[in-house]
């Protein structure tokens, strides 16, 4: 069943059409939620909530934007709302970045040729770093770099300007780099400490 037909039938309350729409989009929505919250149970709850909101409003869908954009907008809002509740603050999307970076411009931490990430970025340490990003950065990073959306689509989903999307992505990547460097340095320190302990033990 093509998506357009499924939407039309779901608007009339047809159960298989709802399921069809769910099957078409659940993987991407779940993946977005999972990357944003880093926990499968929570990501499933958020996926369910996003689809519930979508299906409750489906009769109002007139096709002005793409259905997937509309769904992703709902999903991002559901996730951001959850993260706001977690942090216990009511903040706008623009405020969900780091204030020092907002006011101070891009960081000048270029790193050096002796400390490169190439070859040491893997799924686990990148996921850990992503989890530490402010929610606004995280959303743009996941949408662009993981899910492959273009800036104009992200601007639609996040309801911000294209420039804002580009700027958030740049800051997200720079912050990730910093976090990954910190993790590398911590690991190197641990290894040195362990090597020291081993050689001390042999004496």
């Amino acid at each position: 069943m093509p998506e357009a037909d499924a939407i039309r039938l779901a608007q009339q309350g047809d159960a298989p059409a709802f399921e069809r729409l769910y099957r078409l989009h659940s993987r991407r929505v779940y993946s977005l939620c999972l990357r944003m919250v880093g926990n499968t149970a929570e990501a499933e709850d958020l996926t369910q909530e996003a689809f519930l909101q979508l299906f409750r409003k489906i009769s109002t869908f007139r096709g002005e934007s793409a259905f997937s954009t509309w769904l992703h907008r709902l999903a991002v809002n559901v996730v951001l709302m959850k993260l706001r509740k977690k942090s216990g603050t009511e903040t706008s999307l623009d405020e969900m970045t780091e204030p020092d970076e907002e006011s101070g411009g891009p960081r000048r931490d270029f790193g050096g040729p002796d400390l490169r990430l190439s070859g040491s970025v893997d799924r686990v340490n990148l996921q850990r770093a992503v989890e530490q990003l402010p929610p606004g950065y995280k959303a743009v990073f996941v949408l662009h770099d993981v899910q492959g959306y273009e800036h104009n689509e992200i601007a639609d989903i996040m309801q911000c300007s294209i420039g804002n999307s580009k700027s958030q992505l740049h800051k997200a990547r720079m912050r990730l780099r910093e976090l990954l460097h910190e993790a590398l340095r911590a690991k190197a320190r641990e290894e040195r400490k362990a090597a020291g302990a081993d050689s001390g033990g042999e004496d």
Binding site: G13, D14, A15, P16, F18, E19, Y22, S26, R27, R28, Y30, S31, L34, R35, T40, A41, A43, E44, T47, Q48, F51, L52, F55, R56, P106, R108, F110, G111, G112, P113, L115, R116, L117, S118, G119, V121, D122, R123, V124, L126, Q127, F141, D145, V146, Q147, G148, K166, L169, H170, R173, L176, R177, L180
Partner: protein, 222 residues
Amino acid sequence: MVATTCKDFLNHVEAWIGGEHHPDANAHFRNCPACRSLVEDLNAIRSEARSWTAEEAEPSPRVWNSLRLQLEQDGLIHEAAKTEPAPVTTGWLSGWFRALPRPALAGAYLAVLIAAAFALSRPIDRRINEARWLEGTQVFTFPLSAQLDTEQNAAYSLRNSDPAVTASLHQNLAIVDNYITLCEKSVREEPQNEMARDYLYEAYQQKADLLAQMTERGEAIQ
């Protein structure tokens, strides 16, 4: 674009990694190890992030089942027309399975989950090598998979009221099985990765939940 300093280059680095290589920036890039390192790092991050797309997994079947229930309660979807139940596949296993009282079935699922939790959450002794850990994991998880498969065969043999629901549950089961295969592969590749073990445990849990649902539906009409 004039990129003669690191600051200039940083302001245009996104364009650079997007493939816009202006000659001024090129000249700076060639002579600046710090900016080359920056570009390498950002490319490594982008490349790893993009590889995640291939790892996208389905949410567990419970999401759709709960969602459908909620939609029914909200009156947003029409009940599917009731159809005749599919013919019952009988066999010694189904007879054995039907003969079990419900608490025994619940107990079987619980036993699977407890065993899975024990097998997958044992503290890892960092001194043992990966091969030994992997061997231990296989010893524990192989009987679990086999037990779940047995439960699955038994659940398949139960009568269900609605072929559409049966088809949907079977489809969900296939998704969970794929998910388990992926998780088992991850655990084999990275036996010491706690996240991979967590995912595998959750996958087993999802399958046990789903089989419990199938049993519940099947038994409700016996």
